[in-house]
């Protein structure tokens, strides 16, 4: 798979900016998503209250995460689920591959799960000899194209219908067309027999209810329901932060998530799965295994500013609102999680050294904070991460420049001299060139306001 790296964000972004088709697709998609979200939020007079409530619930969960996780596990297990704990991606993949191979599984159907993309589960399953089929239409498209997702909600948002049509013709033998209904029917047909033949179904989890041991998964297409009801074994993979306390809390989150993500009041299907079936003759899988993944999440609990990262419900609203994402798209971030939330959790999950550019790739405009259903203060998080990175990892020139800047700004005589120096330096500093490639530079005036004030 053609994975770009977070470490080369700047180059990735440059390439993305040169891709006219991508930019057109991004512009359409983000503005449409943004408009729909705005209308959906406006239709609920208590929208702001809901956001506050959701954030309060998440804050409570995160402050007592161990207790709520234990409660969830106890209740899920009492209903027949088997729960596994995975400290990191490798452990999660190992558990899941083990479950599949123990049951001599050959075909695995998957519904969209960012967590399994995070662990690169598909590569591990394929290495273990299994055929893995992504069933969410957007994920199916990028799987055929051997590309990573570019958006949390609509993974193939970067592709035009013409590109998808051509892909389906080449890979699936579809008669050439750019009609969306026909492409959808093609995918439906091709995937039906995979569902029927699958030994294992792997899904993500949107919410895990501590009170009842229920996992809740939301969708529009129906592939999650097929994935979680046809195969004999259902494996549900979730980050440890997905737990919420009570069944009734779903009222708040099911109002916020679909509206924030796609502007819908509700997505077509919500599946509430609690343990395994009662009788062997009932419908549904024989086994339910739930994999809880840490992979760096518990570390984020150590500070209130970083802890809020874990409140994210993966709606994608921040991506659509972000002026940077709108221009460069998801692939440039080189991470499973792009956009504003990606810029803050990727360095925390993968390690700052692997994603040091991302926290700086923001103008701090705050549009993300405005649309986040759980009120994550992403700009504050970005500043927090910059505060961790700059003093240690900033270039020597930059660190020195700011030390000198502080010296000048705390000395009136140096400050007066600085406007003279500035006028000279303005012409030669590389910073000036970065500016003047696209913009004229307003020269520093020869008389400052300090000089003129009376």
């Amino acid at each position: 798979m053609n994975h770009l790296s977070s470490e080369t964000f700047k180059e990735n972004a440059r390439a993305a900016l040169a891709d006219v088709q991508l930019r057109g697709a991004l512009k359409n998609a983000t503005s449409l998503f943004g408009d729909r979200r705005k209308a959906a939020a406006a239709s609920l007079p208590n929208w702001e209250d809901l956001r506050s409530q959701a954030r309060a619930i998440k804050d409570d969960v995160l402050l007592h995460l161990d207790r709520y996780l234990e409660e969830f596990v106890r209740n899920a297990e009492s209903r027949g689920a088997t729960v596994h704990w995975a400290r990191d991606a490798a452990e999660a993949n190992s558990i899941i591959c083990g479950l599949a191979t123990e049951r001599a599984a050959r075909i695995v159907v998957k519904s969209k799960s960012m967590t399994t993309e995070e662990t690169h589960l598909n590569d591990a399953l394929e290495a273990a000899g299994m055929q893995v089929v992504e069933t969410d239409l957007g994920e199916y498209i990028i799987q055929l194209a051997h590309e990573p997702p570019s958006h949390i909600i609509a993974p193939a948002i970067h592709k035009t219908r013409q590109q998808i049509g051509a892909l389906f013709t080449a890979e699936l033998g579809m008669r050439p067309t750019d009609n969306v209904d026909q492409m959808t029917s093609t995918a439906r047909m091709k995937l039906r027999d995979r569902f029927a033949a699958a030994d294992v179904g792997i899904s993500g989890v949107n919410f895990a209810i501590a009170e009842t041991g229920t996992i809740v998964i939301v969708e529009n297409e129906g592939n999650i329901r097929l994935t979680t009801s046809l195969p004999r074994l259902h494996i549900a993979v979730m980050g440890i932060e997905k737990v919420i306390p009570r069944f009734n809390d779903l009222d708040v989150f099911l109002k916020l998530l679909p509206r924030s993500g796609t502007g819908q009041r509700l997505t077509t299907y919500q599946s509430f799965i609690t343990g395994t079936k009662r009788a062997s003759t009932d419908e549904g899988p024989d086994e339910l295994h739930i994999v809880l993944l840490d992979n760096g999440r518990s570390r984020m609990l150590a500070h209130p500013v970083t802890r809020q990262s874990l409140a994210c419900i993966r709606c994608g609203a921040c991506l659509n609102a972000c002026p940077v994402y709108q221009q460069v798209g998801g692939h440039a971030y080189g991470s499973v999680y792009p956009g504003p939330i990606g810029a803050v959790i990727t360095p925390q999950l993968m390690g700052i050294q692997k994603a040091a550019q991302l926290p700086y790739a923001s103008s701090l405009c705050g549009a993300c904070r405005e649309v986040c259903p759980v009120k994550i203060d992403i700009p504050r998080l970005l500043l927090h991460l910059r505060g961790e990175i700059s003093p240690r990892k900033g270039s020597a020139t930059e660190r020195l420049a700011f030390k000198m800047w502080a010296r000048v700004m705390t000395s009136p005589s140096l400050y007066r001299l600085s406007s003279v120096a500035g006028r000279i330096l303005q012409r030669v500093m590389p910073i000036s060139r970065a500016w003047t490639n696209g913009r004229d530079l307003r020269p520093i005036e020869s008389k400052s306001f300090h000089d003129l004030y009376e």
Binding site: A29, Q53, R192, E221, F247
Partner: protein, 192 residues
Amino acid sequence: MSNSARESILDSIRTHLAASPPADDPPVTPANPVIPSKSDPVNRFKESVESVSGKCIITTDAADVLKQILTDLNAQRIAYSDNAPNAHDIFSYDVGISTAQAAIAETGTLVLDSDCERHRLVSLVPPVHIAIVNASSIVETLSDALTRLQKKEISPAITFITGPSRTADIELTLAIGVHGPQELYVIVDGSK
């Protein structure tokens, strides 16, 4: 071994929480305002179903309406939830018929409960799903439905259905009928 991973993760959670400085903003718990209900829930339900491309008929003779729909569809192979075909055969059926244990007026949502009915495949696999719900089972809000579900132990599988299946993954263009049904009919039985 899973147990050591469990202990390790729980320990990591506790240690990192203990190391955390206090949050500077006190948690906010705003009151939950009760939004007054509007018109008759049955009619609201019908409007909501239609707004998501479902079809809804209110009737006191559900059996007759059902027969009419099946005739209009020229349905050949019909799967009923009380006599549901198995997981392999269901793929060759044209229509799946189930009841719904409740419905939500504000969103046009059907609530199906696996403890009451074998709904999972019948309402999902055939290209047409017909659901019959009692008018008296229609509740106003999502919250009402969630409360209702907790009156007994939660069933192994509960499904909320709002309209036929759809996607907007290709250029955000809406396509109805992806993996789930392409058509949804809801018959509201007003006789009970």
